[in-house]
Structures are given as C-alpha cells and as structure tokens.
C-alpha cells in the first residue's frame, strides 16, 4: 500500500528545552493511526507540524507525493489539504453550524456539500444554530463535518474525545470509526487514553518526551512492548477485556448510528 504521509528525521526544538524527534514514521493510505503518550510528550506538536502550524527545524514531511516541509520546501497549511479537528473544536462562534461547515468549501458545490455532510454527521436540522447553542457531542460532530467538508486527503484529530462526557465517548467513538472507514480518509488522531487508541486505530504510535517509542498494531504493542516505558504505559490490567466490552457497546450502538 502506498504511503500517504511520510515523516523522516523530523526535529523541532522549543525554547523551553522541549524537543520533538528526531522522529520517522509512515502512514499508509486510508490508515487510521493513533498517537498516544503522556501529556507533554509532543503528540499535539506532531499534529501541528503535519498540519503546517509549526515549522520543523530539520527533517522532512511528505504528504501524498508532495514534500510539504524540509530544508528547501515549505507548503502553507492552507495548501496542504490537511483537515484538522482541534481539541476544543475551534468552531467559529460568529457563524452558524451550516456556515461553519461551509467555511472551506468552494461556492459552486457549497450548498450541496453542506447538506450531505450535515446528514452524514447526523446534524440535519441544526443548520441555523450557533456553536454555543450545541452540546459537546454536537459541537464535535460539527468540527468533524467542517474538516471533512474541504475534502482533505488527510484528517488530523487532536484529542477528539477529551471534552466529551464519559457516557458520550463510546458512542462518539463508534460513530467516528464507522464514518472514517466509510470515507477511507487517512487519519491521525492523538489521545492520552490508550483504550481509545487501541479501539479505534489500525496502528498505534507511542510518544514519550518527544521521542517515538514504538509504532505497531495494537495487539503487538500490547503483547510485545519494545521498551519498558511502553510496557508500563499500556500495561494496565484487563485492557483487552475492556476493549471487548467496548466492542459490544459498539455493536449495540451500530444500528442507531447508521440511520
């Protein structure tokens, strides 16, 4: 399978002694990569580097077949075709739901596309509402719809579930998984909750203090942790049992999510 995102020797230094990298990884087309790690491990920075909000000090980022960042090349975020869902969703407070979703869509296809996406995320009928009139789950769905509306090749999700109520999370998780599978969009999502990553992701990358500890499919990560840190970080008892329970939840929730 072709790689959609390739990162080579990426390095980013911050003034407060934090350094991300050097770090290399590759994400295949339509793959769903989860990035986990304790807070301050550089997860969000990695996303921001891919999105183009930060410039790497060295190394290379390739998206599709295009080098978007290295010593010579630099592609601005607006030209990368990378959609991002922010931690607190960053919905435009002065625009309605429909206007938020329409924000990055060219005029000719706007009305059509907004309608499709609102239906896709189950928000038909919310068009005229303002973000502050929505619940957390609804806001998240608007944020996802807005990012998808621009038809990105790559979707980045920064802690998509951290601002949701606990009882809403499994539902949204299931919803997202189904949605992403359907769209076939290459996705990287960041979380500090390994259960979330294990449940959703095809592969999971573990970051610690700016370094990539391991990247692999969840089962192998769990069975054969490459480092002591990985073992400790994910080695919580009965994670698999929980994962099974989540799967059951998902199974039950599926019919109503697919309406």
């Amino acid at each position: 399978m072709a790689h959609e995102i390739v990162i080579e020797n990426l390095l980013k230094r911050f003034s407060d002694d934090f350094t991300l990298g050097p770090l290399s990884l590759a994400v295949s087309q339509s793959e769903l990569l989860g990035v986990i790690g304790p807070s301050g491990s550089g997860k969000t920075t990695l996303l921001r580097l891919i999105a183009g909000f930060e410039r790497p000090d060295s190394g290379r980022i390739v998206i599709g077949s295009r080098t978007v960042a290295d010593a010579i090349h630099w592609v601005e975020p607006e030209d990368r075709g990378v959609g991002m869902v922010f931690q607190e969703y960053a919905l435009f407070p002065h625009l309605t739901v429909a206007e938020n979703i329409a924000f990055g869509v060219p005029k000719p296809v706007r009305a059509q596309r907004v309608r499709e996406l609102m239906e896709l995320v189950g928000l038909a009928g919310f068009a005229g509402r303002y973000p502050h009139e929505l619940s957390g789950g609804e806001q998240q769905r608007v944020a996802i719809a807005r990012a998808l509306a621009a038809a990105p090749n790559v979707l980045l999700l920064d802690e998509p579930f951290s601002h949701l109520d606990a009882d809403l999370r499994p539902k949204m998780r299931a919803f997202l998984k189904v949605l992403l599978q359907r769209l076939g969009c290459t996705t990287i999502f960041v979380t500090h909750d390994q259960e979330e990553a294990f449940e959703l992701a095809d592969r999971v990358a573990v970051l610690n203090a700016g370094r990539l500890e391991q990247i692999d499919v969840p089962e192998r990560l769990y069975r054969e942790p490459a480092t002591r840190f990985v073992a400790e970080f994910i080695g919580r008892p009965c994670a698999v049992c929980r994962r099974l329970m989540r799967a059951a939840d998902l199974f039950c929730a599926l019919p109503q999510l697919l309406i």
């Binding site: 999105a51 183009g52 909000f53 601005e76 960053a90 407070p93 002065h94 625009l95 980045l156």
Partner: protein, 545 residues
C-alpha cells in the same frame, strides 16, 4: 406528586420566608435611586416634548436639517476614523513583532489622560499663523504660513485622537482573548490569510470594535469643549449657545430631544452588540503568533505609531510645558489676577479631587443595589433607566439639576453637592456596568458553598463577594473619578461661586487667550489622572474584557 408539592412549598418558603423583606426593601431602594438618577433625563425630555408645535416647526424648517447633517457627518467620520486608527494600532501592538511595543502600548492609550478640550486647545494654539509652531520656526528664521485647524477637519482630527483609545483598548483586550485555533482552523480549511482576516478575525473583533466605535460616537454627540474650540457646530454646541445666549429655552429643549433620541439609539445598539459578542472571547491556549514586519513595513508602522503618540500625547503635553515656561519667562501684567499661585492651584486641585472622588464613591454606593438586583434577580429594567444620564450632554444635566434643586431642595442649590450629584448622574452608567460585570463573575453557587461552610450572609458578603468584585469596583471607581475629574460643561454651570476646579480654570483662562495661565491647571489635571489611568489600564488589560 408529593415531592413536587414539597418543592413548591420550599420555593414559596424561600420567596416569602427568606429575605422577602430584604427583597422588598431592595426593590424600593432601587426604584428610588433609578428614578432619581433618571430625573434630569426625564425632565429634559419632557420639556422638549412639551415645547410647543411652533418651536418644533421652526426648528424643523430652519435648523434641524443642517444641524443633523453636521452632527451626523462629524459623528460618522470620527467613528470611522477611531475604528480604523484604534483597530490598526491594537493589531500592530498585539499581533506584530514591532520593536518598542512594550512602551508604545500604554503610550497609545495615553490621550485618555487629557480631556478632549485640552487636546483641542493646545492643538489650536500650536497650529495656525502666530501659533507655537510658527513662533518656533521664526526662531530659526523660517517664515511659512502654517494652516489653522478650525472647522470640520480640525474637529475630526482632534476627536479621533480623543476617542480612538476606546477602540484601541477594547480591541487589544479582544485580540488577547481571541482563540488562536480559530485562525488555524480556517487555514487548515484552505482559506488564505487575507480572507481569514475578513472572514474570521474581523468578524470576531466586531463586537469589540462596535462597542468602541459606539463609545466614540456617543462621545462626539455629547462633546462640547473640543467642538466649540474648533468652531464646528453640532447639536451640543447649538444647545449650549441657545442656553447661554437666549432667554427662551424651549428651542434648546427641542434640540435636546433630537440629540437624546440619537444618543439613545446608539446606546441601545451598543448594548445589543456587546452582549452578543460575549461568548466570542475566551483565554487562548497559546499566545497568538506574531506577524513579522520586515524592512520598510517595519519602519512605516513604527513611524505611524510614533506619529500617533506625537499628535495625541507629546504635542499637547509639550505645548502645555511651552506655555508654562512662557508664563514664567515673560510674566504678563494681568497674571497676578489669575490665581496661578501654588496655593490657588492647590485649592483648585483639591476641589477637583474631592468632588470627583466623592462622586465616584457615591456612584458606586448607589450602583450596588441596582447591580445586585439586576444580576441576582435578573431584573434589569430599572438599571437601564438609571443609565439614561449618559445620553445627556453635561449642560442639560446641569440645567435639570439646577431646576430641581432650586425648586425642591434649595439648601443644596449651588453647593458642592449639586456638582457631585451632576457627576453621579452623568457617569452612573460607568459605575453600574462595572459593578454588574463584577457581580456577574461571582456565581451564586460560590456564595451557597460559603453558606454551607457555616458562613453568615454578611460574612459571605465580606469574605467572598466583596473581594471577588473588588477589581471591578476599583475599575469602576477609577473610571467615574477620571470622568468627573475632567468634567467641564456641567461644572461650568453648576459650580458654587468660588468653587473652581482645574478644568474650569483651564477653560476660562484659555478662553480668554491666557494660555500661559491655562498651562498649570492643564498639566496638573494630566498628572492627577496619570496614576489612576495606569491602574485602570492594567485592570482592563488583565481582565481581558
């Protein structure tokens, strides 16, 4: 069923048993204060409405249209100017890597230290033939015709200088509390920089800009000193001239009604917009990225900022010093009669300080019950009514108060108290808004939590509510104080004989062309405003509202 009945009973007990008397007393106090403070407004309005059809029709035929045109033209032009200037300065200070932002930031808000009429008079004495500039040029043997500043352009320039700080400070605060992720989100959606400005940044700043712009507009409508100095006629100067030069006050009352209508319209718009924008601002997770300014852009921007500081602060301040020195070096024969000795200046300063601080304190005390009722019981009607004073130019407030006091409370007529009452009425809205904003930040839950920890209601007020509201109270006090300190038109009419304040001394001396004698009160006024201004500025920026 049973449980719902207990709930009803409990609510009833809360309403009747708990604090019903307090509530009634509170309502009564609020009713009294609100109507008392709105009284000048009502009287003025009443006099205008009952002025008679003949006066209204002659106003309509002769003066209404030209006055409306000149007033609205100036108001519109100043508002646009203040928006553009204040907005762009705020952006340059908050969002670019311009050198010297640290100290230019507060300097750009510093025109607020000087009342607009002081800026106007010093500018007038600086430009024009025989002005300070041409005198200085003559020292170097250069003789050029320096243009004067009178008329529309001068009034526009000075009022823009005097009002852009409102826009500037509000926009800076808004820029600081703008969520950086919103702009990033827009970029990740493929929208280019300039479109982000027009589609995201500007709309998000709109409530702050609108609030600042409307403040500027309301200021222009009520300003007397600057406009009169610069020989431009608006409703306010026309009203003042009518009152000062004619025996028949009915036309002035009719003109006032029109002016009040204009102002009320703007104030209502302002509250709507500001209310809508509240949820636009919250703390940003990380500081906004600065836009690097390179080569000529950097110098052009820096030059622009420095020019603003020169016109708004250094020039008026420098001209004051020039005239002060001139008075010392070339004392005039009449100077002895001007009361410019240190003792005299001290007494003017003391009068100003006492009346302004008494007004600020009084306004806050009176604002408390209104704000409390408005915030806790969400009953805002009377609070809105009590803000009517800000729609009245000072002259009209003074006249209405003189009328009421002479007829009903003669022992207060032409005393310091009349002056203090006028200040309270005129600036009550400031005190009320500050107190309301402060109280709104103390959740009832917090008070309940304290009660559950065994704190008495007075104890809660003393240990919890007051400390939490205090920053807002200090800000409100400062703003009322500063406004009262520089108040001119009402003071001119209402001051008791022999009770001169710094603005009055400045105005009278400058009006007679005795600039050297006007300089000392002007400088003293600036010095008195300075520390409080910085306190207020600090609070404003830290609070981020």
């Amino acid at each position: 069923m049973a449980s719902s009945r207990t709930l009803v009973r409990r609510a009833w007990a809360r309403w009747v048993g708990l604090g019903s008397i307090q509530r009634a007393v509170l309502s009564l106090i609020v009713l009294g204060v609100a109507w008392a403070i709105a009284l000048p407004f009502i009287i003025t309005l009443w006099r205008g409405i009952t002025a008679g059809t003949e006066i209204w029709s002659s106003l309509w035929h002769a003066r209404l249209v030209p006055l409306l045109v000149s007033t609205l033209l100036l108001t519109g032009a100043v508002t646009v100017g203040a928006l553009v200037l204040g907005g762009s300065l705020a952006w340059l200070i908050e969002r670019t890597d311009l050198p010297g932002r640290r100290w230019l930031g507060p300097m750009l808000a510093a025109p607020l230290v000087m009342p607009c009429y002081v800026i106007a008079i010093w500018h007038v004495s600086f430009w024009g033939p025989g002005g300070v500039l041409s005198r200085l040029l003559e020292l170097f043997g250069v003789s050029v015709h320096v243009p004067t500043l009178y008329g529309f352009f001068g009034a526009w320039l000075i009022l823009v200088i005097g009002t852009y700080p409102y826009v500037y400070m509000l926009t800076r605060a808004a820029l600081r509390s703008l969520d950086v992720q919103l702009e990033e989100a827009a970029r990740s959606l493929g929208v280019r920089r300039w479109h982000i400005v027009t589609r995201v940044t500007l709309p998000l700043l709109a409530p702050a800009l609108a609030a600042g712009g409307l403040l500027a507009a309301v200021y222009v409508l009520s300003d007397y000193g600057a406009v009169a100095t610069l020989r431009y006629e608006t409703f306010t100067t026309a009203i003042y001239k009518q009152l000062a030069g004619r025996y028949d006050q009915a036309p002035a009352a009719a003109m006032s009604t029109v002016l009040i209508a204009l102002t009320v319209l703007l104030l209502v718009a302002q509250q709507r917009l500001w209310g809508r924008g509240r949820h636009y601002y919250k703390a940003s997770p990380r500081p906004l990225p600065l836009v690097p300014l390179r080569s000529w852009k950097r110098w052009a921007a820096l030059g622009f900022l420095v020019l603003c500081v020169i016109l708004g602060v250094l020039l008026p301040g420098g001209v004051s010093l020039y005239w002060l020195l001139e008075g010392v070096v070339h004392p005039q024969p009449m100077a002895a009669f001007w009361g410019t000795s240190l003792a005299d200046l001290g007494s003017y300063a003391w009068n100003s300080l006492v009346s302004a601080s008494a007004a600020a304190t009084g306004a806050l005390f009176l604002a408390w019950p209104l704000a409390y009722r408005a915030v806790r019981y969400n009953a805002r009607g009377l609070a809105r009514l009590s803000q009517a004073g800000q729609a009245l130019p000072g002259v009209l407030i003074a006249l209405a108060i003189a009328l009421v006091l002479h007829r009903f409370v003669p022992f207060l007529y032409f005393t310091v108290w009349a002056l203090i009452i006028a200040y309270i009425v005129r600036f009550f809205a400031v005190a009320l808004q500050a107190t309301e904003a402060g109280l709104a930040r103390v959740p009832v839950r917090l008070e309940e939590a304290a009660r559950s920890l065994g704190c008495s209601s007075v104890g809660v007020w003393w240990r919890l509510t007051l400390p939490l509201v205090r920053p807002s109270l200090i800000a409100g006090w400062t703003l009322v104080f500063l406004n009262a300190l520089r108040e001119l038109p009402a003071t001119l009419l209402l001051r008791p004989p022999g009770f001169d304040t710094l603005p009055v001394r400045f105005w009278i001396a400058a009006g007679e062309g005795f600039y050297a004698q006007a300089a000392a009160p002007a400088l003293l006024l600036m010095v008195l405003s300075l520390p409080l201004f910085f306190l207020g500025h600090q609070l404003e920026v830290h609070r981020g509202t």
